[in-house]
Symmetry: C6
Subunit: 82 residues, 6 copies
């Protein structure tokens, strides 16, 4: 039996920088795909399907943008960083 | 006759951690599918359709991201947790 | 002549619980379909089309998630309930 | 020459009730279609295309939900009405 | 060589009225298409493709709704106008 | 081995003007495509696919709109600029 998949790395939305927040958005988006399709072999087979498809690449961008909106709000947009 | 489907587990958006909030987002997204298609046999038949389809996996990610945005706001982004 | 369709049940976004808020989101999403396609016979014919289609079930979930975001904000996420 | 299309009826997002706000969301969504396709004859021809298509009905619901989110926020969710 | 495309007319999200804000949303949505496909001849060829397609008209409405949400928030929903 | 792709140029969401904020939204949307499909040759091949497709151009507009919403909020909508 596999362990349950952790959906939020480090169990926190708070990051030091926008760059790290963006990386977290990408990871969180991928982890939803992982929990919906837990079979690594199937996911590996699907990777070139979306990576070579313009329409799906755009759709992934939409999902990451939505995740990032939440993470950016959680971090008060890293306004103190500047 | 089946019981009415509960759409919000525990009838609350508040969770202890981001991880639990994310799990709630996944559950709430699935429960909308359940209430729209209450027949478990049909849902079981549809599962491999979307789990093996890159485009649908991305779309599920978009829906979970939207649900999570609401749950994260409800919990003030778990800022006190850090 | 048919009566105009009421788009917001009880003419309020405020509900006692998250569960009732979620039910309202589902109803409001359905009422937009009703006002766009007022013919009940056509709607009845379309129901199995989307209920048996994985892609459309996911899209319905996306719409409900967006409606729910508004309702949840209106109710301050039912934070006082806990 | 036709007059320019008014995109926001009454030039205001403020409405007395959620019901009126919802109606405004539907109208604003339709007016974007009108300004993009100003030819009434073409729009008339397209109406049954989307009204009989489950997938497009859902997509219309998504757009109305997004417009309504803005209108509801503008009206502070009509919280004073209750 | 062509000049760089200005993506935000007047370099401001602030408008006097909701109507002007809505027009800005339409323009900003179109300018993204322009910057992605800078060839005017191609864009001209694509115009009837989306203007005659119910599904694409709805998708344009979704994009404008999202742009408008930002512009409306920037203007505090023109609440002072009433 | 290639260097890791920087996802947020200058590691900040803060910009001087709405125009610069909009350019950042476009860049951030493109960088997600880049990190999902790191092979420049494949991306180059996909460019005409979406740039000549009305439906994909609209979808890109949707993604940029979502990224811009976050950037605009981060900058308090550049209200002080006026």
């Amino acid at each position: 039996m596999s362990e349950p998949i952790q959906l939020v790395p480090n169990n926190s939305l708070l990051t030091k920088t926008p760059e790290e927040g963006r990386q977290l958005a990408v990871k969180m988006a991928r982890l939803i795909i992982k929990v919906t399709q837990p079979d690594a072999a199937v996911r590996e087979k699907l990777r070139p399907v979306y990576a070579d498809d313009a329409s799906m690449l755009i759709a992934i961008g939409q999902t990451v943008a939505t995740e990032f909106a939440t993470i950016a709000a959680a971090n008060n947009y890293w306004r103190e960083n500047k």
